[in-house]
Amino acid sequence: MSGQAKQIILGAYFPGVNHDTVWSDPASGSHIDFDSFVHWARTAERGTLDLLFLAEGLRLRDRGGEIFDQDVVGRPDTFTVLASLAAATSRIGLAGTINTTFNEPYELARQFATLDHLSGGRAAWNVVTSSDADTGENFRRGGYLDHSQRYERAGETLAAVRALWDSWDADAVLADKTSGRFLREAGAGDFAFEGSQFDIAGRFTTPRSPQGHPVILQAGESPAGRDFAAASADAIFSRYRTFYQARDFYQDVKARVVKAGRDPGEVKILPSASVVLGDTPAEARERHAHIQDRQFDPYTVIVLAEMVWNRDLSGVDPEGPVPDVAPTPEAPKWIRGRAPLTQDAHTTVRQWRELAELDNLNLRQVVTKVFDRAVFVGTPAQVAGEIDHFVQQDACDGFILGSHVSPSGLDEVVDRVVPLLRDRGSFRREYTGTTLREHLGLRPATP
């Protein structure tokens, strides 16, 4: 291959309210104090990463009616943290996961447009939709959304938000003191949107932001989700961890992008990956095993299995076989506040049993294999090589990186892996653009 290497996109996720975050690690800090977010964000910016990424959960998780207490619990408000981070950083993209079910287009449009103004064009929205009636208990609208309406709701929300963003021309604000003309046109902000979910009209409050349209991220895995993302997103998250799975997903989605009438380069594919480093391969493996022991303690193994079985498995031995009881997906939800792991529990249980049989694994080992988020385990050189391999061989366009500890887990990735990626010529040494669209190589948004 001659000429320039394909440029890797790198983001960072904040270790979240999951079993993979090891809060008992001595390095583990607060998940709430703003100082933690500043440390994380400045580390990522020092590494010239493309974007920061925050997840979302709008109710605390519970199991059999009792709030989870074994994992990190609690998070701050996503928009508020990102707006504060806009002041604490200068170049890195700021991506937030925000639900379309429990927010209205008018608010979403003005919050993301405001974030884009405040950050000078660095805002991104990971569009998710929930049909989770339990989370609805915290909101006016309740859990009304039928599962089949999820993509309808998401699609209409996105279309309505884009209509709002387009309601002010880029040059709508004249602010000419001499003539006394503040607006170029009287109709600045006029909008109307009608669909099955929304019938809204009026005037939008917020002038067009630097990016015009903040970057749209999505995570779609079902065929409908992939089509939706291919048609409307700028980047797609995935959770495929092996090279061939990732490449299959990449090829499938890029084909859908083309079918949707878009250039394949317009949609970036970004799996998330946790990184475990060591000075030697053996040391990295040892560290990984130690982290896994902390992540997949006996209680957590049972809770994760219960997410599939949807029933109380507290009598099951994590060191024993995959339980031979049947899952009860039709029963009232045993674990609430977590995105469902599977739409088809019976198939998933069968796959787990096959996995156990094939490799002679006990329940804990199966759960560890299924849930471990660590994609890259090795020396910095190994990890840099693998990341580059995934990208150059078109298994993805980059990664959203994280670790098992917050807020300092990203430090060693930035200090030890990023320089090697730079040396390979596949990652920037400094920011060349100012907006997130420019970092990602996306075209400016046009109305």
Binding site: F34, A86, A88, E104, H117, G180, R181, A188, G202, R203
Partner: protein, 421 residues
């Protein structure tokens, strides 16, 4: 359920140290402001503009800034639908996010964005203001506002609001609509306050020996059930440094006075002379008694729209210029005062004595000019008179306003009786 600790309501007899704050909105509160030479009319939607304003206010040791907001384009009248004018400032950023942006850029000043209760989700409001409190290390507040405009309702399409017209106020239909909006606001504040308390302060325990990150006995469902919405809780956001960030309400009449008395810590009022300030104070005391308010009495704060200059003639000339540039006199609920910093200090001193107001929220006619005059002129003048502090003391906004930090309403109190039993 009892919601607050049982400190008896004090008579408004001791206003405490003078509280000074400013209200930030667009290019300033006079419609002609944006056309003046000092206005940064082309930068109203930039981060630098807001950062500069709030850091300037902090140089003046002000207690807090409020930031205006609404879920519709400005109309110059909170009841009227936006018109088609092109000669006035139109458009705004989300105030809560502006406050979040300036939080890391400041250290002392309180940040009180306006957030509407009418179309928003109390759950989102609760975590946004709590997070602002975390990010600012205890400086957050919430200025509660209802949306009465039918055009704003159409932005959400969830319900139709009758268009309230000023001439209809006082009719039974309008009274019902107002009561509905303010009733919803009271519900929203109650739901938010419960969510702020839904994590006890020491809920996060990180106890390795029992493999527990939180003590779930210290997390509480809030089960707010009202006529308009229900909220289950708990919040996803742990209790913030102040526990309960400041809640403020602007009030001109019986219904908003009642909302302030039942729900707020600070009330902004708009007397036009000292006697009126005294009358408003009496009405607020009555409203507090009517709702059997417990805890600290309302911090009563008078709003003034200020045009400041070194000389009285200069201030008069500035106001004339502003009116000419706006091609109209401003409509203002608050008293418009064109004076010198010393003249404003006289007024503040006189009203403090007459009305026993806790403080003043100044609405600068022109930004940044009149804010600059407040910081460089008024504040030193008040300091010379011994009426205003010379440094920030307490970190938390509540403390600075003389309000204790409340325990979570859900925290189990160990009563002396039980201890001795």
């Amino acid at each position: 359920m009892s919601q607050t600790s049982s400190i008896p309501t004090a008579f408004h007899g001791s206003p405490g140290p003078l509280s000074l704050s400013v209200a930030l909105d667009g290019a300033g509160w006079h419609p002609g402001a944006w056309r003046t030479p000092g206005a940064r009319a082309g930068e109203l939607f930039t981060p630098a503009y807001w950062a500069d304003l709030v850091t300037l206010a902090e140089r003046g040791l002000l207690d807090f800034v409020t930031i205006e907001d609404a879920l519709g384009v400005q109309s110059g009248d909170h009841l009227a639908t936006a018109g088609r004018e092109t000669d006035q400032v139109r458009g705004r950023l989300d105030a809560a996010l502006v406050a979040a942006f300036v939080a890391p850029l400041t250290r002392h000043i309180g940040l009180v964005p306006t957030v509407t209760t009418t179309h928003t989700e109390p759950f989102h409001v609760a975590k946004a203001i709590a997070t602002l409190d975390h990010n600012s290390k205890g400086r957050a507040g919430w200025r509660v506002q209802v949306s009465a405009r039918s055009d704003e309702a159409a932005h959400f399409g969830r319900r139709e609001l009758p268009q309230l017209r000023r001439e209809d106020l006082g009719t039974p239909t309008a009274d019902r609509a107002v009561a509905e909006l303010f009733g919803e606001a009271a519900d929203a504040v109650e739901a938010v306050r419960r969510l702020w308390d839904s994590w006890e302060d020491d809920a996060e325990i990180r106890d390795e020996s029992t493999n527990r990150f939180v003590d779930r006995a210290k997390l509480h469902y809030v089960d707010f059930i009202g006529a308009r919405f229900t909220v289950r809780g708990p919040s996803i956001t742990p209790r913030s440094p102040q526990g309960q960030p400041i809640v403020a309400v602007l009030a001109h009449g019986r219904v908003p006075f009642a909302l302030a008395a039942s729900s707020a810590d600070v009330v902004f009022v708009t007397p036009h002379h000292a006697d009126e300030a005294r009358a408003i104070l009496a009405r607020i005391s009555a409203a507090e008694a009517e709702v059997s308010r417990t805890g600290a009495p309302l911090r009563i704060t008078a709003d003034l729209l200020v045009v400041l200059d070194d000389t009285q003639a200069g201030a008069d000339a500035r106001l004339r210029d502003l009116n000419r540039l706006a091609r109209a006199e401003p409509r203002s609920d608050a008293l418009l005062v064109a004076t010198t910093p010393a003249g404003l200090a006289d007024l503040i001193e006189a009203w403090r004595h007459a009305g026993l107001l806790h403080g003043f929220r100044l609405r600068p006619a022109v930004l940044p000019d009149d804010l600059h005059a407040v910081v460089e002129g008024l504040v030193p003048e008040l300091q010379r008179r011994g009426l205003f502090r010379t440094g920030y003391g307490k970190q938390h906004l509540r403390e600075r306003l003389g309000l204790p930090r409340p325990a979570s309403r859900y925290a189990e109190l160990v009563s002396p009786e039980r201890e001795h039993a």
